[in-house]
């Protein structure tokens, strides 16, 4: 498929005419949403759906924190609590983290590489809808799990679903089947979208956009897609095996018939650990775009930044068993996975240092995106260091499955990923809607959320030190855990207040926000070269690129980047 290049600068593609359209009617809006294959609309739909599920999963977390606020509390019965953390984890990983990543990739990758759409627009729509229905399917379990004739129950096996807890003997009814089939379905959608992103990047770049000039955001999305392509099928294989076990009496994980419970853990974490890096990739992607623009300097050490992302992805395929230091592997295996896990910290460290070096010597502009990225740097630093601690197997013999681990990965996923998602939303909000997000509301959002976040999760490190295990719905009042649990619960309320400011800001700015213009941040990548919001065809004239910062070249013809690269 060769790209057609339109030479005439003033040429604008005509708006496509559709039959039976009345502007503004609900039918039309619905039609647009359902029938669209436009990568920008699908991207926003991904982000919207991800935020919707985020709120649901956040509410579940709130319920759990209320239950844990006091010892011997009776707010939630144990089965509801167990369903809550299962649904919370599953939702956050599969229905929030990945869709948000895909949403940003969908919206931005074609714009950043100067393409008019994704390589396979209809496959793109397919991927979104499959994901969305897998989410609805999962939540339908609340209504329908044991059959519609009885009160429903959601899956309660944990998002990791360790066998043999998932076998028929220990998980009766159909709740586990909802979990399994939903993830199988979602896996198909994720692979479809990842494939689409990969092909788009390799086959749809505008002239001059060599791989060495891709924005780091795009590089991260390429790596993310590779990981999805390699890891998600492993999860699908796991789900097929569970289904065969549960429906046809297969013996994969039936420990009574010679099946091996630890094999499930290996298979699950071969998927699960790359998955963690899939989730953190958007954080790397967005930070690497935001920090240079708001420091007014190019990213420091582009080649090593790209190499670091690739190295992280590569090593992440060989670290899975650090989730299994306690299952009784031989000491050699334990030592191997300590080594591979610690190796990940090297490229990760490089990334943090290079971001700092990018800011060093720049002229910082404390706009919302940069503020959230600084929050990210601080929290990701802590998350990375607790990760190093957890890599040391003897320490993990104490910390594994304790609240320390809960704190660690919430620092990664909330303090790391979610902060950059906020940064990304504030950064590209003007591009998507043509309006500036409100700075003051954004600051309220930042401070409330940051404080709430630390109040919630910092004490959980110490709870882990004091021997509090994860996934318990209640605890005794004499273990020294009560005060910190209460503090942690109070933090959730502060975070929720921050989220309210965020949602209000999105709506407020959409209606009353200042007009932003096409390039409000004075940025350098191609998405800022088109209008805000971009037309359906993105670029009337496909750009030709000569360096990593095409708009810098255009704005500084006296000192273009390609002289230095």
């Amino acid at each position: 498929m060769s790209q057609e290049i339109i030479i005439d600068e003033n040429y604008r593609m005509p708006e496509p005419v559709r039959v039976g359209e009345e502007t503004g009617s609900l039918t039309r809006v619905m039609q647009q949403l359902v029938f669209t294959v436009d990568h920008k609309k699908l991207g926003l739909m991904y982000i919207g759906a991800g935020l919707l599920f985020f709120v649901i999963a956040g509410l579940l977390a709130g319920l759990m924190r209320i239950q844990l606020a006091f010892p011997n509390n009776h707010f939630l019965p144990p089965d509801v609590f167990n369903q809550s953390f299962t649904m919370h984890g599953t939702t956050m990983v599969f229905l929030v983290g990945m869709p948000l990543a895909f949403g940003f990739a969908n919206y931005l990758v074609p714009l950043m590489i100067g393409a008019r759409d994704m390589a396979f627009p209809r496959l793109n729509a397919f991927g979104f809808w499959v994901f969305f229905f897998s989410g609805l399917f999962l939540y339908f379990s609340y209504v329908g799990a044991p059959g519609l004739y009885a009160a429903g129950s959601a899956p309660d096996v944990g998002w990791f679903a360790y066998s043999p807890l998932t076998t028929k003997a220990f998980s009766r009814g159909h709740s586990t089947d909802y979990w399994t089939l939903s993830l199988l379905l979602g896996g198909i959608g994720s692979v479809a979208t990842a494939l689409n992103i990969l092909v788009t990047v390799f086959c749809m770049r505008c002239p001059g956009m060599t791989l060495g000039r891709l924005p780091i955001f795009v590089w991260c999305m390429v790596v993310l897609s590779f990981l999805v392509i390699l890891a998600l099928p492993c999860l699908s294989a796991c789900q097929i095996m569970i289904s065969l076990d549960r429906y046809l009496g297969a013996k994969f994980f039936d420990t009574q018939a010679g099946g091996d419970a630890v094999l499930w853990q290996h298979f699950f974490w071969i998927f699960g650990h790359p998955e963690v890096y899939i989730l953190i990739m958007p954080a790397f992607a967005i930070t690497s775009e935001v920090i240079p623009v708001f420091s007014r300097k190019p990213i420091f050490g582009y080649p090593i930044m790209v190499a670091a992302v690739v190295a992280i992805a590569f090593i992440s395929l060989g670290v899975w068993a650090h989730h299994m230091f306690c299952v009784g592997m031989v000491s050699l295996a334990n030592a191997f996975f300590v080594t591979s896990t610690l190796l990940v910290s090297i490229p990760t460290g490089i990334k943090i240092f290079n971001w700092l070096a990018t800011m060093y010597g720049g002229k910082l502009r404390f706009e919302l995106p940069l503020i959230f990225c600084i929050g990210f740097l601080f929290q990701f630093l802590i998350a990375g260091l607790t990760g190093v601690m957890l890599a040391v197997a003897p320490f993990t013999w104490q910390l594994s499955d304790s609240y320390f681990v809960v704190a660690h990965f919430h620092y990664v996923l909330i303090g790391g990923l979610l902060f950059t998602i906020f940064a990304g939303i504030y950064y590209w909000y003007p591009k998507a809607f043509g309006k500036m997000p409100d700075h003051k509301l954004g600051l309220w959002h930042f401070w409330l959320f940051t404080i709430g976040f630390h109040v919630t999760f910092l004490p959980q490190h110490f709870l882990g030190f004091l021997g509090m295990p994860r996934r318990i719905y209640t605890y005794q009042d004499d273990r020294g855990w009560d005060t910190m649990n209460l503090i942690s619960t109070i933090g959730v309320a502060i975070q929720a207040a921050g989220i309210l400011f965020f949602v209000y800001n999105l709506i407020y700015s959409y209606i009353w926000g200042k007009k932003s213009g096409d390039d409000p941040w004075d940025a350098w990548t191609l998405e800022w070269a088109t209008t805000s919001p971009p037309p359906e065809y993105n670029f009337a004239k496909l750009p030709v690129v000569k360096s990593r910062r095409p708009l810098w070249d255009a704005k500084h013809p006296e000192d273009p980047d390609w002289k230095h690269e």
Binding site: F120, V199, I229
Partner: protein, 199 residues
């Protein structure tokens, strides 16, 4: 180095999306198969009760010959298409599909034999579980491949296949070669290796 000025947008060449797409899909499928192959290897020789592989499995000679030769015929079909020889294409393409169907028949007969005469089912033991899931997953891919082959065959016979469909044809042939390669692995692991492992 100042290479930017020497670039001409007209010289800008990129790989074909369809081909790259199918290769990526093959990568994903390989990951899926890897898990099932590892499961088979892991449980090899660990079944608590019979039937065991060496008691019931026979080397699937005819099916293997059919599947491997279909890789050759699809190659010939493609060559015909590039040379513009449409009847030749239809012939070899049809032969490929027929060989695929024969392989499926062969597998079906083998399963019938195993289930009804040797009493090996998915639920018999870990061997049955891993055997049927791995071979079945492969057979499922052959079914999909045969359907794709038949789709192209029908449009070829109705005279709807044009030179701009070469990419479709190529993508399907990649997929078919991949299914063949997987069979090499399955054959080695299931029919050559596991029948030699003592229980």
């Amino acid at each position: 180095m100042n290479y930017a000025t020497t670039e001409n947008p007209a010289d800008w060449k990129l790989p074909s999306p369809r081909k790259l797409g199918i290769l990526t899909l093959i990568l994903a499928e390989s990951a899926l198969f890897t898990i099932f192959v590892v499961a088979y290897l892991f449980y090899m020789g660990k079944s608590l009760n019979g039937p065991y592989p060496h008691e019931v499995l026979e080397f699937p000679l005819l099916g293997t010959i059919a599947l491997f030769s279909s890789s050759g015929t699809i190659f010939l079909a493609e060559r015909c298409l590039h040379a513009g020889n449409k009847p030749g294409f239809s012939l070899w393409w049809g032969v490929t599909a027929a060989l695929g169907v024969y392989f499926l028949y062969f597998t079906g007969a083998e399963w019938y034999h195993l289930i009804f005469e040797k009493n090996l089912t998915l639920a018999s033991n870990t061997f049955g579980t891993t055997f049927y899931s791995l071979v079945g997953l492969h057979a499922f891919h052959v079914i999909v491949g045969v359907l794709l082959l038949l789709g192209i065959l029908i449009s070829a016979l109705r005279g709807r296949l044009h030179s701009d469909h070469t990419e479709h044809v190529e993508a399907i042939s990649y997929y078919w070669h991949f299914v063949d390669c997987i069979w090499i692995v399955v054959l080695t692991v299931v029919y050559i290796l596991s029948v030699r492992v003592p229980q």
